[in-house]
Amino acid sequence: MKIVKILAVVACCAVLLALAGCVASTPPVQSGTTVGILYTGFGTMPTLMATKQIDGYIAWQPFVEVAPMAGFGKVLSYTGDLPPDAVWKNHPCCVLAAREDLMARSPDLVNAVTAATILSTRYVNEHQEESGAIVADWLAGKGNFTYGNISVSSVDAMTRAIYTVKFTNEPTDAWENGILKFMAAQRDLGVLKGPLSNSTDDASKALIFDTGPYRAAIQMLEGKRIVTPAPETRQLGIGYLMSDHDTALFVAVKKWQYFNDTYGIALKPRDPTQSKPDLVDLLVNGQKVAEIKLVPGEFGGPLMQLASTDTIQFVLVGNPPAMASIDKGNPVKILMALNTEGSGVVVSSDAPASDWPSFLQWAKERSDAGKPLRIASPGKGSIQDILLSYTLKSSGVTVKEVQV
């Protein structure tokens, strides 16, 4: 008897849920063009696309490059080329940030890590092919990515991707102002509730940036005299994203011998056989200065949290999570850029769109037909999300979050 009752309740619930599902999945008809945004993370995008659940996505590399390689999509636009008027040319992306207390306590050490990253970035720009292979080794053990029936070599994908990312470190005025554009978008989203929510541009910059280590590092490199920091007794940590935007870190570790011999500054892996080393020694002028663990993360948010609890002291993350965290009082400053651009918009391979105008036309047709396009974005407030929403809105498109 009891079982019958339980079954009845379960059945009622199922019916109610099904009804709710039907109601929610009917898109409300709107005047003008509407595009739906779906927040999915990165890994699911190829599957969602191949199973026709989305019409396109915006992602960082190599998820842009693998689409045409595996045949499920085509590149509509790299983010640097998004309209209007090349406003996102050289748009800021990932940054190097560090904890303030470490900068105060051991400035030489922060300068040394900054210098190592600068040297590595230069190397990446001079050896793109080799760097692509290093990223493929780090992120995928040089294995294959299998999408459906097609296997894509990670080395090929990463090498192609490297050419679409701009690796640069200098914290120029244009770059800082670019980051403030992302900050403005975060304000609109209501992500910022602390001191960054209504600060002037100058005050914001003072809260966000500390370019001292960058300038000190450049000075050391120009003078060819690296200051050896006092050895650090405590283990330090560097958090990074599983993305080729952080190529500079991967190259710094994998090519440590070269950097050690040429510049006397290196991040030497404890176990060089690991494809993804998790422990390195910072060597300056042949002397071991610090033991540093390397902590990978899928998103910037959790890495910023680790920095806030002093579990890691350096982070290589997108600028929005760094700002959101600084706004919440995380004692961290952005030191310099790691890369600019490096993301892209992908649409399904049979989409009647090859550039932004034809994409808008397609979006309008689908919207008028009551079936607005669904574009996947990795997460609310991410660089990719902000770029996509901004671009759509500036083209007069209404952006709606798809309610599932």
Partner: protein, 252 residues
């Protein structure tokens, strides 16, 4: 019996093969052979995370540690709660509030409290195993026949002797069931625990890592391996149960 237990999995494999053939879309249901290809090469490196075997061993090690830790806390606490009414009254409601919280929900706090590394992972696994062991221990100790305790007491046994000679052996079968269920749940938590940032090995990590790149065959291979290892360990528990606690059947 034996044959029947093999028949259904075989049927599922057959349905899978047929389904994959019909659907003909590797994204929705990969073919048997593309997943088998991964499983049958357990020593090959997977996306730079190490081999299936290496990752499985790391997971078993972590779950084993977390499980033993949970047992070490839950069994004594369970005995005490069953024996001392007041302690039970004090703790019971708190335990019932904490019990339904999925270990996954603890990830952010685990990271903040225990930092990156083994301790965080063990905490998540501990949470999974702790409650079934605790509740079964309480049940088991309460279920020991009063007459047994009274007889022992009349014959002049001390509290210590009653605990180790009467109560523990009497409650052992139920505690063992708790351990069996607890291990199952701890093993289930392996994916959640190894999702923590900074983790670089384990079957759960492998699945989440493959997910980052949408590698479905690898994800399914990892799932099957988790299932098979779970089956092996559960069989071990049941074998020991049949051997050591056969008396309970007689008692009935």
């Amino acid at each position: 019996m034996r044959r029947l237990s093999l028949a259904f999995p075989l049927l599922i494999l057959l349905a899978w093969a047929a389904g994959a053939h019909l659907i003909n879309n590797e994204f929705i249901l990969p073919r048997l052979e593309s997943v088998a290809g991964v499983l049958l090469d357990p020593l090959a490196d997977r996306l730079g995370t190490g081999s299936l075997i290496e990752n499985a061993l790391r997971s078993i090690e972590r779950v084993g540690m977390g499980f033993l830790l949970a047992a070490a806390v839950a069994i004594p606490l369970g005995i005490a709660m069953a024996r001392f009414r007041r302690l039970n009254d004090l703790l019971d409601s708190t335990i019932q509030i904490l019990r339904p919280i999925p270990p996954l929900a603890w990830l952010p706090l685990s990271l903040a409290w225990f930092k990156i590394g083994l301790t965080s992972i063990l905490f998540i696994i501990f949470l999974g195993a702790f409650f079934p062991i605790l509740l079964n221990t309480i049940d088991g100790v309460r279920g020991v026949k009063r007459t047994w305790i009274e007889v022992a007491s009349t014959l002049g046994a001390r509290e210590r002797q009653i605990l180790f000679r009467v109560i523990l052996p009497g409650a052992a079968p139920t505690i063992w069931t708790g351990l069996r269920v607890g291990f199952g749940i701890a093993w289930m938590c392996v994916v959640a625990a190894e999702m923590l940032p900074g983790t670089t090995s384990g079957l759960g990590y492998l699945i989440m890592y493959a997910f980052n790149f949408g590698q479905i065959q690898l994800i399914i291979a990892g799932m099957i391996l988790i299932g098979l290892i779970g089956l092996m360990i559960d069989t071990l528990f049941r074998k020991i149960e049949a051997k050591r606690f056969a008396w309970r059947e007689l008692e009935r």
